[in-house]
Amino acid sequence: MARLGDLERSVMDVLWDSDGWLTAREVAARLHHERDLAYTTVLTVLERLERKGFVQRQRAARAHRYLAVDAREAVVAEAMLEALGTADDRSSALVRFVGAVTAEEAEILRRALAQPAETDFTGADDPPADEAAALLVEAAATERVLPGTGEVPSVPEPSDTASSATGFTEGPEPN
């Protein structure tokens, strides 16, 4: 399976690097694969790619000619659009590291990140992260970004935060 995936990539690379339509034979000639590939193998891969919607086919005089449907950059962009969750996204197709972030949240994060001094750049254990934490908690409490703001002390003693944050509290009504 991985073998076939590599082949698909190589074939797509050939199509992306070419300017116009290519026959399967031309694709096979341009493939710099470790081993010589049978023409039929290339044809199979092209058919697979066509089924997946990445390649379009045109009937030429005696053979079929192939062209990539979208430029490589457009395919990357499509992947990125899905990854950023901008497409109509109601499913859990992808599990994202960071979801949508609002402007206020970003501002809080930016201020927290601006805290670390130069030492942090090479430091082993991020001592300024405590300051960042303090700032985060404070900012969240004052700017009412975090739910249950009453529970988060504005003076961010870590132990206080921890104890109060574990209370069974109901968050505020979401808009």
Binding site: V95, P147, A162, T166
Partner: protein, 429 residues
């Protein structure tokens, strides 16, 4: 009839007030695993109770006890006289059972199918365009690296300048001078050649992929990168997608029920926290928190609505009043070349190259916020802002791990067991 009413009441409680309470609770952040189990128990018991309530209603004329009524009805079914002893009201109940069950399972099946198809399509996208990171390629690139002029003073190998897709998938070894490459040894890792920082995983049984973008490699330091990868690996290994999937289906089954939406959001957050915990154990919570903050900042520069709607991210717009104060320092010489990245995409997000997060030059630690020199708009996304801020909640939690009393997870597990046994108890009423 009492049984049916009790079951219906319990189902209603599980469908509305309980999820609302639990979605608002913050103690769940202390023990995400137990909280997820509790959520699953609520969802399962709610569905089972709703179905059983209608079943009990249907068979009520047959017997005073619901289990007897069910067995009686099954007996009648087997004997070929399904309607014996039932009145028209029961037939109505039977129709409701059929409708409810087919809706529940139909939506679950169709949403799972849609998810699998989208996942497979996305996997094709990243397999065809993303670079994989082979150890041989990494070693080869690292071996050549010292010969490259201008490479030595850079703290990280994966700068924008020395990024040459395809030719060198493994240029980002030698991180922080330790000689260790964070990307090596990650099967299924794909590197997308795009300047916007993003990290995510495409779950799957054997074909799981962890995808990072070039923007991520240039935004994060090696330790942060390791933490992010550990987080994504936790998702893949823990099959967290299976946890979320039923809640997505619940939400799609009852799109008009707000608790269903809140449940999905809460469970998604808990799953992220679960992965955060794993990554924090394997690396460091503070490092992961920093990575989260850095990515959160860059994500806000990519407003969800505008990216898809206008397809034009690069147009410089005036900075919003309280918005980004782009540090002048980040336009340092070290970044100048990134504007001319030869591989800038031409696709819908092509303009993103200008607003891409960039690694500040070394020594400009004050401008570590990855704020681009081009003041990108930080207007809120068009979509409804989340009622809580998941990213900040996760960061605060990582920086100040909450003290979890031992009885919190125990109580959550006990509650889950209790919720699951209630339907059985109610049946015997």
């Amino acid at each position: 009839m009492t049984t049916a009413a009790a079951l219906a009441l319990f189902a209603a409680v599980l469908a509305w007030p309980v999820p609302r309470l639990l979605a608002g609770a913050r103690w769940t952040h202390g023990c995400p695993r137990a909280a997820i189990v509790l959520w699953q128990a609520i969802g399962l018991a709610g569905g089972v109770c709703a179905l059983l309530a209608v079943v009990a209603f249907t068979v009520a004329p047959l017997s005073g006890s619901t289990p007897h009524g069910i067995s009686h009805h099954l007996h009648n079914l087997a004997a070929g006289r399904p309607m014996s002893g039932l009145d028209w009201l029961s037939v109505l109940g039977l129709a409701m059972v059929a409708a409810l069950a087919s809706r529940l399972f139909g939506v679950l099946a169709s949403s799972t199918y849609a998810t699998l198809r989208r996942r497979s399509h996305h996997r094709n996208l990243v397999d065809l365009t993303g670079d994989d990171h082979t150890e041989e390629g990494c070693a080869a690139a690292t071996a050549q690296a010292p010969a490259r002029p201008g490479a030595a003073p850079r703290p990280y190998r994966h700068g924008v300048q020395d990024w040459a897709p395809r030719a060198a998938a493994g240029r980002h070894g030698l991180s922080g001078g330790t000689g260790e490459c964070e990307l090596c040894g990650h099967a299924g890792l794909r590197i997308l050649d795009h300047p916007v920082a993003v990290a995510y995983c495409v779950p799957g049984v054997r074909h799981a992929r962890v995808v990072v973008s070039r923007g991520l490699l240039t935004t994060l330091g090696p330790r942060e990168l390791r933490a992010v990868l550990a987080h994504e690996d936790a998702h893949v290994i823990g099959r967290h997608d299976l946890v979320i999937q039923p809640f997505i289906a619940w939400q799609q089954t009852f799109p008009f029920l707000r608790p269903a939406w809140e449940a999905t959001a809460a469970v998604s957050l808990l799953v992220e926290m679960l992965a955060d915990d794993v990554a924090a154990r394997r690396t460091s919570g503070k490092t992961l928190a920093k990575a989260l903050a850095q990515l959160g900042v860059t994500r806000a520069l990519v407003p969800a609505g505008t990216l898809g709607a206008t397809g034009d991210l690069g147009t410089p717009r005036p900075t919003s009043p309280g918005g980004s104060s782009a540090p002048a320092g980040s336009g340092a010489p070290g970044n100048a070349s990134s504007a001319g990245t030869p591989t800038a995409p031409r696709g819908p997000i092509a303009g993103g190259a200008g607003a891409a997060p960039q690694r500040p030059a070394r020594g400009l630690a004050a401008s570590r916020t990855a704020t681009p020199p081009v003041a990108a708009s930080v207007e809120p996304a068009e979509a409804d802002p989340p009622s809580r801020s998941p990213v900040i909640a996760r960061i605060v939690r990582l920086l100040d791990p909450p003290a979890v009393p031992w009885w919190h997870p125990v109580a959550a597990y006990a509650a889950a067991v209790a919720i699951l046994t209630v339907p059985a108890l109610l049946l015997t009423l």
